[in-house]
Amino acid sequence: MLLKIAWRNIWRNKRRSFITLTSVAFALFFAIIMRSMQTGTYDQAYSSVINATTGYMQWQGEGYWDKQSLDRSFHPDSHQRKQILAHEGVLDLLPRLESFALLASNNSDTKPGFLKGVDAELEAKYFQLNEKLLAGELPNSQNNGVLLASGLAENLSLGLGDTMVIIGQGYHGMSANGKYPVIGIADLKNPIANKSTVYLDLKELQFLTGAYGQVSAEVIIPKSKDQLIELKQDLALIIDDESSDLLTWQEMMPELIEAMEADSAGGLAILFILYLVIGFGIFGTILMLTAERKPEYGILLSIGMSRGRMALTSFMETGLLSLLGILGGSFLAWPLAAYYHYNPIELGGDMDAMMEEYGMEPLLPFSLDGDIWLTHGSIMLIISLLLSFYAVVTIYRLNPVNAMRR
């Protein structure tokens, strides 16, 4: 019956309840859509940067990340490697060897370049290297050629079938010079990478630099990108010696997180103000309502209703009202977020160009992460329940004689 009273009380002043309800719904709708857009964009940005660079987690030679040189490459222990691959949270391991060298062609001067020795089949499988191909094919142990980033190919005036010369330093001071046919050209999107990257077959680069069996890193492909910390803890038990490190993308690219967090903070500040405004609105309603109901509370207290039950009823009333608003806001936000999740907004103009430069797709997909709904729905509910403590305090202080005196 208390719930019945609370429910019916909501409809006593339909207009006021409706205004409160819609303002809660609107605030929540706005908060969810905004966070959905932000989170969706960040997720997209994160995953495109991560996929284009480090992957989600790496197994590296000790200290490699601080001073990335060929001399710090390492020889993965084959037993440990098997154990990592056998872990249920790991899909695959991708060995990579990276080095710097001077590149030259017959018909132009030299350019500095970034050599990546990879297993192209795996890079295609997990990082879609094949989709970046503009012409030719990926390097492998049979074709023994190099895949050039398109910007680099242009600078060196190299085309498919031409020969490129690599002049560099190998492992521990060895020289590393070689001649390779250009077998593929790829567009790497990111402007810096696209002006410098050369892909070779891993074995070929190991042979060229004399780093036999060595890799800079094994990229760990996790089953789920949301449980990296737990996965890292598990894998650390396998790699228990000091000669190699495990690094998550957060550790390798803290500046990426910082940039997003700075941006996110701006959005949260707007939401904070929004919640403040709505909070004052709800408080106004509760204030009026409590003042109006005082004589009634006086009667209820007189006839023997305990203060606890009265407080509970008023708590339920506010809770139900904001819950209605919360449900309304959530349900309204869902189709819009879902629409832009599956049909991301395409950016035009400057934004488009800028994002493409950084290797991101110029799309703003919305996130459908249930956490957004849960978080902001709860915030709204907590705000209104906290505010309804005003009514609770009033009820506990109420003197029936004064309340009924007019």
Partner: protein, 227 residues
């Protein structure tokens, strides 16, 4: 044993610098089955006296004993529970919960006493019938006349089987027909069910029906006569 007994009961209000003796040294006894009116001019202390007897207000001095229980010693929560179990209240206005039907209003008291649904329902119907509202049971207070609302309030006051019913000017907002009807009902309940009524009024028609008249002025009992 008296149902109600007050000794040297006083209630002093502070009004700025001056003190108001709203109730001043009142000794009063009410026995079971009485139909008693407290009368006196406006501001004489009737409401304050009833509030003290009903445990709604705290005495400045003196004692209130209900069925041998000194209620002025009870804590707030004990007092609320005591009121629920032992005292029926009818106020001048705004008695009922506006969002509940007549029947639900009567049931509400029994719900607070944790009575079963079936017990609540049958007693509520019985009581509403006794006050002549069997046709109006499902109406909300706003759909009832002032007189009907007061009759629901009487039914509600009786729902908890209280020791007595306190009614502060129950007819103040009623026309003469409704006043007569309400008095008839209260009188019949008093005669047939032995319910003790203590009410305040300054309405001559009500005074005429009372069986004991306690006249107060300036917070003091000036006369007390049984008819």
């Amino acid at each position: 044993m008296s149902v109600i007994e007050t000794k040297k009961l006083s209630r002093i209000y502070q009004d700025g610098d001056s003190l108001i003796h709203a109730v001043n040294q009142v000794d009063l006894q009410v026995e079971a089955g009485e139909f008693t009116a407290i009368i006196g001019p406006s501001g004489s202390g009737k409401t304050t006296l009833l509030n003290l007897i009903g445990g709604l207000d705290t005495p400045s001095e003196g004692t209130v004993t209900i069925e041998n229980k000194p209620i002025h010693q009870l804590k707030d929560s004990e007092l609320i529970n005591f009121r629920l179990k032992h005292i029926g209240f009818v106020f001048q206005a705004y008695n009922l919960i506006p969002v509940l039907s007549a029947q639900e209003n009567v049931e509400f008291i029994m719900l607070l006493q944790d009575q079963s649904k079936s017990a609540r329902e049958s007693r509520a119907k019985e009581l509403l019938k006794a006050v002549g509202l069997e046709q109006q049971m499902h109406k909300r207070p706003s759909e009832l006349s002032g007189g009907q609302q007061q009759r629901v309030a009487v039914a509600r006051a009786l729902a908890s089987k209280p020791s007595f019913v306190l009614a502060d000017e129950p007819t103040a907002n009623l026309d003469s027909k409704s006043t007569e009807d309400l008095l008839d009902i209260m009188h019949r309940l008093n005669k047939e069910e032995g319910i003790t009524f203590l009410f305040s009024t300054h309405d001559q028609r009500v005074i005429d029906r009372a069986e004991r008249l306690i006249y107060v002025e300036d917070g003091q009992i000036k006369s007390d006569e049984k008819k």
